[in-house]
């Protein structure tokens, strides 16, 4: 008896095992968060004696990976960093570069593929700025400059609802356009989305002590092979000009 039922029992166990594994694997795939996706291996990257912020921008550009950088003070601009390595995870490279800058750390976004480089101690104004909620962004399809400017118009409305915003956006005829829509998203989340779309880096310049004193110039920049928005590298570490007192 045992010998005749044995194979049938084994076959049933095998089927159950396959089904269980199949279900488990599927569940694992669905539970995978953006930040936990298989991490990019950096084939080859090296920098030598460059400002940390420049090294990070080069990493983003050469590997087409989205980064977010919060600049506070001038350490990211003045600290010279070096790195050389091959076939290492992206986070290892970021960690190696940021580790050379006193007072800075990095983190992986919980709901975003963007690696964020930020001061260990983020000032309240910076936190407040990145956590401003835009209740309705888009849907819109536009170049990077227009996407960024639209976000800035919305931020200004939240901060200064009685003040108008006007602008001009020069653009090339062949600018790449991206589609973006967000509801009740924070500024950081929208910047992350832009960086992810453009495979670039958003950089928040140093802010004044209070957002009430934020001037009209764009306080963030985006660097991407599809275009650059805001300050160039040289202007990233200058403190955002304060708005002149209104008479």
């Amino acid at each position: 008896m045992a010998s005749s039922e044995g194979p049938r029992f084994m076959k049933l166990k095998l089927i159950l095992l396959v089904l269980a594994c199949s279900a488990l694997c599927t569940a694992q795939q669905h539970d995978e968060k953006p930040g936990e996706e298989r991490e990019l291996l950096v084939t080859q990257f090296s920098i030598s004696g460059v400002p940390a912020i420049q090294g990070l921008l080069e990493l983003s550009r050469s590997e087409s990976v989205p980064l977010g950088i919060v600049v506070d003070g001038d350490r990211l601009c003045k600290t010279q960093v070096s790195y050389s390595g091959s076939n290492v995870p992206l986070s290892f490279v970021v960690k190696s570069i940021v580790g050379q800058v006193p007072g800075y750390s990095w983190e992986r976004g919980q709901d975003s593929p963007v690696l964020l480089v930020t001061p260990v101690s983020v000032r309240p104004a910076t936190e407040q700025f990145l956590n401003i909620v835009d209740h309705r962004y888009g849907p819109m399809k536009a170049n990077l400059q227009t996407l960024a400017l639209t976000l800035w118009v919305h931020i200004r409305y939240v901060l200064y609802p009685d003040q108008g915003t006007a602008g001009s956006i020069l653009s090339s005829k062949d600018d790449r356009e991206f589609e973006l829509e967000a509801r009740d998203a924070t500024v950081r989340q929208i910047l992350d989305r832009m960086a992810a779309l453009a495979k670039g880096t958003w950089v928040l310049r140093p802010l004044p002590p209070t957002l009430a004193k934020l001037a009209g110039d764009l306080p963030f920049a985006i660097f991407s092979s599809f275009g650059q928005v805001g300050s160039d590298l040289g202007g990233l570490c200058s403190t955002e000009a304060e708005q002149p007192a209104r008479k």
């Binding site: 400059q145 108008g164 006007a166 602008g167 001009s168 653009s171 090339s172 764009l218």
Partner: protein, 311 residues
């Protein structure tokens, strides 16, 4: 054998005498005494088609056989000219240039630059002209020239003519910009078009532009790097503060770029007021160098329109 003859002269060569008398050539070689047939070449050592022509060939003096040998054929190119027939180029811009003419034998337009050996510029400080190439040096106007010997006529009636052809060259200075077309112009609010948000509303206008030169001519040049500054002036009825100058653009092969203007204000859509702004575009040519600041554009933003220099 090698012999010099004067214009209008002719000379006869009797091959039978050369053979029978064993006349050596300039290298001392003689024709074999038993030679009864051969081929020959007639070569003009100072090529100038039409100046040396084989008149007739007598094959047999006894029987009087005479044939007309194949005469040299030529195809002339009357009225050669530059292609292009004028240049509007930026400083540092390098463009090709050819001399073309219509082949009188087949009426086809052909590049005959190879006939031209002297390429020059009347004012090299403005533009440099070298073989099949024109380069802008500094803003201004000059004339490029190419000189050479060109065949005129066709068939066996041909002559070479010393020809000079010239072309006007304007080295353009980025001076201003103009609207080539409006791509979009409409009101905006948080519901209809998400540039504005909340209770703000305003206007949106997208135009296509081109940079113009000191004479008002379009600068059709790709790779111009443009950036801008915009400042708020008076009146400022729409309460504009902080004016983003986001723009950077690179002109396409037609010299075109886009410019998008917008205004969002709590005063809109009700207000009939306006805010005046001034826009200055800087232009760095593909060759590099210092940026050219174009003439400022006067922008008038209203809740129901945006105009640029009154347009």
């Amino acid at each position: 054998m090698q012999q010099t003859i004067q214009p209008g002269e002719q000379m006869w060569v009797n091959f039978a005498d050369l053979i029978h008398h064993g006349v050596p050539d300039r290298k001392g070689n003689v024709l074999p005494a038993d030679l009864n047939s051969a081929t020959y070449d007639l070569q003009d050592l100072n090529p100038s088609p039409g100046s040396l022509m084989q008149g007739t060939l007598v094959l047999d003096n006894v029987w009087g056989n005479q044939v007309q040998p194949q005469l040299p054929e030529c195809c002339g190119f009357p009225s050669p000219a530059w292609d292009p027939d004028s240049y509007e180029i930026g400083v540092g811009g390098v463009f090709p240039g050819y001399i073309e003419g219509v082949d009188e034998c087949n009426d086809q337009l052909e590049n005959i630059s190879y006939d031209f050996s002297a390429w020059s510029s009347k004012n090299p400080a403005v533009a440099a002209v070298t073989t099949e190439q024109v380069q802008g040096v500094s803003p201004g106007f000059t004339t490029g020239s190419a000189g050479g010997w060109v065949l005129e006529g066709s068939g066996d009636i041909c002559a070479e003519r010393d020809v000079q052809v010239s072309v006007p060259i304007t080295v353009q200075v980025p001076t201003a910009s103009r609207i080539t077309q409006t791509l979009s112009s409409h009101s905006v609010n948080s519901a209809s078009f998400p540039t504005c948000t909340g209770t703000q509303a305003g206007w949106y206008r997208q135009v296509e532009k081109i940079v113009t030169d000191q004479n008002g001519a379009d600068i059709v040049l790709s790779g111009q790097n443009l950036s801008e500054t915009v400042t708020v002036g008076t009146p400022n009825d729409l309460g504009i503060t902080g004016t983003p100058q986001m723009g950077t653009a690179v002109t396409d092969e037609s010299g075109n770029f886009d410019d998008t203007f917008f205004v969002c204000s709590s005063s809109c859509p009700a207000s009939s007021g306006q805010t005046d702004l001034s826009q200055t575009i800087s232009d760095v040519l593909p060759s590099g160098g210092n940026p050219y600041n174009l003439s400022p554009n006067a922008l008038v933003y209203k809740c129901t329109s945006i105009t640029i220099n009154g347009q």
